[in-house]
Symmetry: C2
Subunit: 122 residues, 2 copies
DNA sequence: CAGCATCCATTATGATACTG
DNA sequence: CAGTATCATAATGGATGCTG
């Protein structure tokens, strides 16, 4: 089953924002689409090591509903679907930038390794 | 059971940051502590309408472990415990500011009501 | 007051096999 | 290629009662 639309009202903007980005892979999807502009399903899958097809699909559908990503289906054989950020998704990504910086800082302070599939250092 | 320490490695800073703020009330806790500097357990409880004692405790413990909040216990009767942001927690709050703005914007665009317990508009 | 323990319901995430 | 369907487990959230 997908995500329930959320029971109560939102208390503040952070609350609302966190609700749409929580999900084990959503941050990465945003990041990947931001970095590459457009990605196909299989490309995203490869970029997110460990994700299952099901979870990726589920997250993408939710993000589509939340107007974060755009899904473009090409009527071809073999099938081809391209995902990209919407305006709102791009804005969200911008808004996440300081958070990402904070996170990298924290990883550094803990001497934890960042093991990017590509170089996600920016 | 509390939260598992997370299986795999983090892929990027956003990933790492989202991991420590996900939880139904963590954003609000950060916000409340940021707004008031210091809060007692019962005060936080009142500030988060609908939270159960268990969840509040659980979140506070996790945030303590993640070095986001400081917990000061006073050896008194009746018991008194005060929570406040650590340096890292305060920095996180700063990093969340643009995200909060994005979230408020989105709520406005959807004509959804924001129903703050206090005025959380800033 | 500030919690902890216990039981239970709902969600989130995963592995695997199959389809247009 | 880009998914669905199905079967599982783990994580999260909540209600209630009890304690120092």
């Amino acid at each position: 089953m997908a995500k329930a639309p959320r029971s109560g009202p939102y208390i503040c903007g952070i609350d609302a924002a966190l609700d749409v980005v929580s999900g084990k892979w959503k941050g990465l999807v945003l990041w990947e689409l931001h970095a590459h502009g457009t990605r196909r399903f299989a490309e995203l899958r490869r970029a997110l090591p460990g994700v299952s097809e099901k979870m990726l699909t589920q997250h993408l559908r939710q993000m589509e509903q939340d107007d974060l990503v755009h899904r473009e289906v090409y009527a071809e054989v073999p099938p081809k679907v391209e995902y990209s950020l919407t305006e709102s998704g791009a804005a969200l990504n911008e808004a996440l930038r300081p958070l990402g910086a904070w996170g990298r800082d924290r990883l550094r302070r803990q001497n934890l390794e960042v093991t990017p599939p590509h170089q996600h250092t920016e």
